[in-house]
Symmetry: C2
Subunit: 340 residues, 2 copies
Amino acid sequence: MPPSIDQVARRANVSISTVSRVVNRRNVVSEKTRHRVELAIKELGYQPNAFARGLMLRKSEMVGLVLPDLHGEFYSEIIRGANMQARQLGYSLVIASARDTDDAQSLLHGFHGRSIMDGLAIMVSEVTGGIQEVLGTFRLPFVVLDDDIDGADHDSVTIDQLGGARAMMRHLVETCRVSRVFFLGGLETNVDTIARLKAYRQVLGEHQVPFSASDIYHLDYRYETAWEFARQHVSEWVGERHCVFAANDEMASGVVDAAAAAGVKVPEDLAVVGFDDTRVARMTRPPLTTVRVPMAQMGAKAIELLCSRLADPAQPADQVSLQPELIVRESCGANVCGAG
Amino acid sequence: MPPSIDQVARRANVSISTVSRVVNRRNVVSEKTRHRVELAIKELGYQPNAFARGLMLRKSEMVGLVLPDLHGEFYSEIIRGANMQARQLGYSLVIASARDTDDAQSLLHGFHGRSIMDGLAIMVSEVTGGIQEVLGTFRLPFVVLDDDIDGADHDSVTIDQLGGARAMMRHLVETCRVSRVFFLGGLETNVDTIARLKAYRQVLGEHQVPFSASDIYHLDYRYETAWEFARQHVSEWVGERHCVFAANDEMASGVVDAAAAAGVKVPEDLAVVGFDDTRVARMTRPPLTTVRVPMAQMGAKAIELLCSRLADPAQPADQVSLQPELIVRESCGANVCGAG
DNA sequence: TTGTAAGCGTTATCAT
DNA sequence: ATGATAACGCTTACAA
């Protein structure tokens, strides 16, 4: 049984209020008694009971991060950013993620119920509807990540997917002066793929670069799938200033490796670009030109917003959009084409 | 202000003890009053205050996971496994990781101090000494991950690094019948590199395969470094039944890519194998033969041990060793050599 | 079966 | 500057 405040008080010959004052550095305590109390604290190894403290203060200095999944670099980077920011602000981070068996709703509900957290950062992107209602019943302050809910009046942090994809497409068209671009997306229902494809259509349209429905493919974001697919199609793709725009780095890497295996040189015979700037982008030869999605920053920003709301619950909802960054490496041939 | 137990009591015309009994399903409550209480609970949306509860029960149903870093697949997989197991057992997971500025000691100390957690799972592998003392002062139950502290009597879960590396080396020698193996390690001080190098020496010695100090290199576990290094040395490495044993998949992948760039065929001209079985092992062409380190399982096992100790604090310390698994793919040439 | 009341370890308000 | 004492919301003997 750890020592409690009144054991400290007894040992230092003071009242518990004085001990509390010393611990919390509130009010004034005379130099002499403070020393006595601090000595007693050290001798006993006293640490305030967090439950009792929370009961009085109604806060735990803990925030929760709810994610749909924990697989892969994307989520791990969000966690990393969130953790850093939380620590910086004096909070601890509690992770929650659905298991195979249970849906996001019950996860959220359960997590919210225990409610020892001061607030929640919730990622809803992959989640099937019904979230709005659950969020409506929330008593805890929360911020939403990667939100695509319009008109909601809660804090949120999103990433400008369209802007990032447009930056890439414009680089391809304006700097690399590509004559034809093949789009390699994830599933057609994926929100990110939709945004990236939209940019593809927009920018090619704006620059009168012709493309047809048969230039657009939908795979599943996986390296292996892209590799196999590229093995079969890479010979059709080869051409003067031709380029493959893959919707993520894994697929882009698969295409590059398949091209190499087929004797197709990247970027000379075929340019290839990716998206996300995950670790694999730098582990592909040639290194991938891609778009850096600030994942860690998104996690950090979410926690920052949340904690700032905890500090001032009345402030108006803050919707932050994070800007991706075009990363030009070698796979697009920008250096080779010499146009930039 | 959320409703408290006595608001429920008032509304249901019972005492607070009865409400408590209904909530905790302890003792017996008559069917009639139970219904009344449950109705009141639903109407008010009552949820027991976790702090008050913890104050009485002295537990929060939360466990902490302390990691030296959050970068990369290794830690993210540990978190994933730990999270899954924690949820399974009805616990929430709190993450803690040092930031650049602070050392593991202060991290542990701070994290332990807040002590709203019921117990801690602590990874100490990368940590500079002094941990033993800190651990000695712990009041919370804890389990240590990837422990190399001998004779300690706390719960721990480790990975049989030596066994895994020996399995790989034996595969190379016995199945692939290599005539020479180059070792590409991380820093000389890294505990994993040390274990893997030990296996290298042991197995080659046991099978009278000659090797010299100049066959052993120490890099830094990074793809880029290995790629650049291999670019300079790959021509020296080529040879009948020669093989590069890299201490992790990233470096192995770098070697493979550099070999390809130099026109050296893997595995025909030079076999290459890795370690860890991270995502990159399957994203290298040819896919890497490697050793799967059960990272998620380690996280899960740690939480399992911890919770089992929480349930029965008196049980003897449990030291679990997890077995890595040899994964034979194509980069070792086992299929080509036809010896297995 | 249900109610009363005594803690649990804090912080906060008020006297002194 | 310090000390009583009343919350905070809950669980749990013990009593009825």
